[in-house]
Amino acid sequence: MRQSATATVELNTEWRGKFTAEPFEVAWASEAIYFIRALESEGVPGGVNARVQISPDGTHWCDEGTHVPLPAAPGITYARITHFGGWLRLVGELPNGAHLKVIVHLVLKS
């Protein structure tokens, strides 16, 4: 049986301007899905994304290439990721005046 785990990496967190979801160690996993659930969404235009980042050590980060759409209304979005090494995090930037209150789930499977 494969191992699996869901991490709530952000819970009821406010995002304004630049944001970073807390890093998570994922070396044991081979696939992941980031879910962003917006409890509140104000002034978020369509087409704004969070970027998935990977890291060799949890300190130095680079864009992995996957984008997760930011919900323009209360709701949930996702992106699938594979072949990511030992660490994952999300970063992004909201335009002036926009804000999100989010739950971010990282769903992992070995």
Partner: protein, 295 residues
């Protein structure tokens, strides 16, 4: 089975030989097969997450780590590749908690053993030995619903105060003082208290202990911890870390009136707290909870 036979079996098993369990092993987790039921601590809420006490709103969850460092690569663990890792946010006072929840079937002695280590996030090339404020262990217990007289919820807390406000302390402390209990929401059914608050910690008598921090922040040495508690008398029976046996005979656990839905609760916790603007990490290689065998 004779005690000699039992000891021989334990000592011939390389997974268990480093532990000294009581008669019945309730769980043994080495985190090479997942998180094995260790999960995040979440504050109580009703209707909205905003009803949670502020201190509970950002308790960080556990994860699995192979301890990969920027300079030396993967450290791994004492007995495998993965440890349970608790990681704070990069700010003073941020806390991460791992909790495993069960109930007990026999009110007798229990023993929690663990191999653990702690380090700060490596953000600068410096020793950073005072970046981690504290690591701790606690049980959250409640007596049986058959208890007639003065039913209680009991919460023995012990922490290693590594540093405070940038200055090394290196001392074990305990907490007996009750924290304020608040009603959550409007139903009258949900209450909450932040028992990990910075107030109320008291030095354990003779509790000074210097651990093997090692020379730089990317070197990890594992420590042994053992906490003994009696579910019958709800009192401490013993506490040791590595070679130091600390005197807990005179200290009291935190006590609060029993709550309506926590009977026979047996929850085990570990946590870590940061003292500065970098993340604090607590790693658990393995955890074993054992108990006296009921008749």
């Amino acid at each position: 089975m004779t005690n000699d036979m039992r000891q021989a079996l334990l000592h011939s098993d390389p997974r268990l030989s480093r532990f000294n369990p009581l008669e019945r092993i309730l769980f043994y987790d080495d985190f090479n097969q997942g998180m094995q039921g260790w999960t995040a601590l979440i504050g109580n809420y009703e209707d909205s997450l905003d009803s949670m006490l502020p201190e509970y709103r950002d308790i960080r969850p556990p994860m699995l780590s192979n301890l990969s460092m920027w300079d030396s690569g993967t450290v791994g663990t004492l007995t495998g590749n993965y440890a349970l890792k608790l990681a704070t946010r990069p700010r003073p006072g941020s806390i991460s908690v791992g909790i495993k929840r069960m109930t007990f079937r026999h009110a007798g002695p229990i023993r929690l053993e663990a191999f653990f280590t702690f380090k700060p996030e490596v953000t600068e090339l410096r020793l950073a030995e005072t970046d981690v404020r504290a690591v701790g262990v606690l049980f959250d217990l409640q007596v049986s619903d058959r208890t007639v007289e003065n039913p209680l919820r009991i919460m023995p807390h012990i922490r290693y105060l590594n540093a405070l406000d940038g200055k090394a302390v290196e001392r074990w402390q305990y907490k007996s003082e009750r924290m304020s209990m608040y009603d959550i929401g409007g139903s009258g059914k949900t209450r909450s208290h932040f028992h990990l608050a910075p107030e109320g910690w008291v030095d354990l008598p003779g509790g000074d202990q210097r651990l093997c921090y090692n020379e730089i922040a990317t070197k990890h040495n594992w420590y042994y911890l053992r906490l003994d508690f009696d579910l019958k008398t709800m009192s401490y029976l013993g506490f040791r870390c590595n070679d130091c046996v600390h005197d807990v005979s005179e200290i009291e656990p935190m006590q609060i009136p029993a709550m309506p839905n926590l009977w026979c609760m047996l929850n085990s916790f570990f946590w870590v707290e940061s003292d500065c603007d970098s993340r604090a990490f607590l790693y658990l290689d393995s955890v074993l909870l054992s108990a006296e065998m009921e008749e």
